[in-house]
Symmetry: C2
Subunit: 90 residues, 2 copies
């Protein structure tokens, strides 16, 4: 799977990410991968659900993975943050 | 699967839910199911990850489901909210 079809979910509105997903799918990609960390995880699930129920009716949740990532803090230490990866496909 | 081993994740601190999970597992249940809606979804992933990496090392993510639930608003209408269900087991 190419990295190209990965959408990183941050703090923008849900509809921006939905638009990004629709664009990827319209380019001919059959799959789109949503990645999010920390509080953006809830938003990633919202994007997946709204996309699937309202915009692309034949889209299915193919895989969901959760993990722990280490991020470097500006003070030099590291912190653990939860992450999610949702693979959607036709 | 009995309903007994389901932990509903709300707005309490992560450690309260981890304690609830550990209690379930110590009762002899091999599986524990975390359910959360809306913004609590991120917290459910945190609970799963902290539990798995720090407290119960042989625990694995068996299944993750996402869905859309309808909730009744106090004004009488309904609103859609995303939900997650994480099944952890030994």
């Amino acid at each position: 799977m190419s990295e190209e079809n990965t959408i990183f979910i941050g703090s923008k509105g849900v509809m921006s990410y939905i638009l990004a997903c629709v664009t990827q799918l319209n380019k001919g990609n059959n799959d789109v991968v949503l990645k999010a960390r920390g509080r953006a995880i809830s938003r990633a699930v919202d994007v997946a659900e709204i996309l699937r129920t309202r915009f692309v009716s034949d889209l299915k949740v193919k895989d969901i993975k959760i993990s722990t990532e280490q991020i470097k803090e500006s003070e030099g230490g590291t912190a653990n943050v939860s992450a999610i990866e949702i693979t959607l496909g036709k």
